[in-house]
Symmetry: C2
Subunit: 327 residues, 2 copies
């Protein structure tokens, strides 16, 4: 598989990542209205680096929709000006806070009991479990405060888009989304099941678990960007279908890296899922077939984009980038 326009994609991702990092820090709660220990704990986890995959996807989705329709107030065309980025940046950051909260809680001893994340000790190792639970809770709640507050506008159209994003993100984070997925994952781990009887996940169960645990927020990332850029139902449907394929590819690649990568490359404990007997794509299908499955997802994602007139841009490149990590 070739990597079209790879140089420019790298530049794009770097530019967006810098913008996202700056906004993530600027919008975090500040003293003195919040106790210092909570701020420190939030900052430790939010500003620990990370690929910023979800926020960049959110921004790219907003730019793609604005570039096609010009509905965000900017003239149609590649790039679509800074306005659409301002519209989508709060959603991008709120989603990254929610992603970070989920990592903090998933790492807790009562969950995956992980001690290494993004190359550093996990939050509860440094601040204790109580503060780690609270920092996660705080990021989840603050994400919705940010979505409701920014961008500040009394324009009924923007107010409506913001409320729609609140709903999409909350449903992705909730019991039918991330929380449900983590519960299924927990039940598949023998050490956390009360009666010692883990639920064995088959291929369908594995896809459903990941669809909730990671897929739902990836879809909400793309949908939020599209909504803030003023996508109509047709474009929104296409972006959602694209993100659904992308999310599955992302997870398959993550599983492949868990087997093939090292802890240093990944910044988290490698081989842990496989070692703990958790089901993974390579375990079910083998490495080669897993790579093919991921490539198939990307092909379907690109077909959806092409049909909606969104093909050949950053969204297509992001899909290629996701699978290129396994090379």
């Amino acid at each position: 598989m070739n990597r079209p326009d790879d140089q420019s994609l790298t530049g794009y991702i770097e530019a967006r990542r810098r913008q996202v990092d700056a906004a993530l820090e600027a919008w975090l709660p500040q003293p003195p209205t919040c106790p210092p220990v909570v701020i420190e704990a939030m900052r430790y986890s939010v500003l620990a680096g990370g690929k910023r995959f979800r926020p960049i996807l959110c921004l790219a989705s907003a730019e793609a929709v604005a570039g096609q329709t010009g509905t965000a107030g900017a003239p149609p065309g590649p790039g679509a000006g800074p306005h659409v980025l301002q519209l989508a940046m709060p959603a991008a950051c709120a989603i990254e806070w929610i992603h970070t909260y989920s990592l903090i809680h998933d790492d807790l001893p009562a969950m995956d009991n992980d001690t290494l994340r993004r190359g550093r000790p996990t939050l509860h190792v440094v601040y204790g479990e109580g503060i780690a639970i609270l920092a996660g809770d705080g990021l989840l709640a603050e994400a919705f405060a940010l979505l409701a507050r920014e961008p500040q506008s009394s324009d009924p159209g923007i107010v409506g888009r913001k409320l729609r994003v609140v709903r999409a993100v909350a449903e992705a984070a909730g019991a039918t989304g991330m929380v449900g997925g983590q519960a299924l994952d927990l039940q598949a781990a023998p050490e956390h099941v009360a009666d010692g009887e883990a639920v064995r996940l088959d291929a369908d169960g594995l896809r459903m678990m990941h669809g909730k645990k990671t897929g739902a927020l990836i879809r909400a990332s793309a949908a939020s960007g599209a909504i803030m850029a003023g996508a109509d139902e047709r474009l929104l449907g296409a972006v959602d279908q694209y993100a659904s394929e992308l999310g599955l590819a992302f997870q398959i690649v993550d599983d492949i890296l868990d087997v093939a990568g090292t802890s240093a490359e990944m910044g988290k404990t490698a081989g842990k899922d496989a070692a703990s007997g958790k089901p993974t794509y390579p375990a079910l299908y083998g490495l080669d077939q897993s790579r093919r499955l991921a490539a198939d997802c990307v092909a379907r994602a690109n077909a959806v984009l092409d049909e909606a007139g969104l093909g050949g841009g950053r969204l297509s490149q992001i899909a290629q980038w996701v699978v290129s990590r396994t090379k």
Copy 2:
């Protein structure tokens, strides 16, 4: 202190509690979109009884504002018709879910390590810590999904009110509100401080901690009802000031009951705060002076209501009811 119209207040509270209980259950996530264990855990905690103080305050606030202004679409007058209850009920339930989530997480071993709540074993005792953390996370996220979804309306005025409620509730739940308050509380408990050095709270510190931990959500309850009923800034300000006094009275009464009550009466471990060396109002001021402080709060709350033209109704009665629990 006399209890005006006590009979009718009891009937009002009972009627609203039944409506709240029914809505709380109806709006909880259902199978098959959510794993059964998460649903069971959420139901265990949400449907465990409870006074429903916050949702009833939210509804009473909406009724008071609608009764005075008629802005919710119903004709002005006592009661203000069922319409305003439909407008405010989602906020009432979302806030009770958030209150429940906070109890679940506060009870965890890494926090207050409580095993009894509302007369039953706490959630983590029954379902394990992992599922308890997830059920709390799920209730917090689902609360915002509910606020964004219900009441269903494309009316820009209602959409704007809903987004405003999302912001008020999220800020109350977040790092400057409940999460910050619980962090301060945790730091005042010797067993949870990493270096063994608990922060000694004085009277001001105690008031700030409670203002965040319980006061913020009580204020958001009253504000949300007022916002959904279409309150203008003047009425909203009065309702918020009332709720601020009410929240402080509520906490002082809770501390008094912790000293004076029994576990059976309270449905949770009595005397625990005092025994653990946590600062309480009776410990700082004595029982009699604490009762006077609570009564002063209620007097100020009523004065605010009177000045705003909201006096003499359910909101005044609710304030009296809060202090009457200490008799």
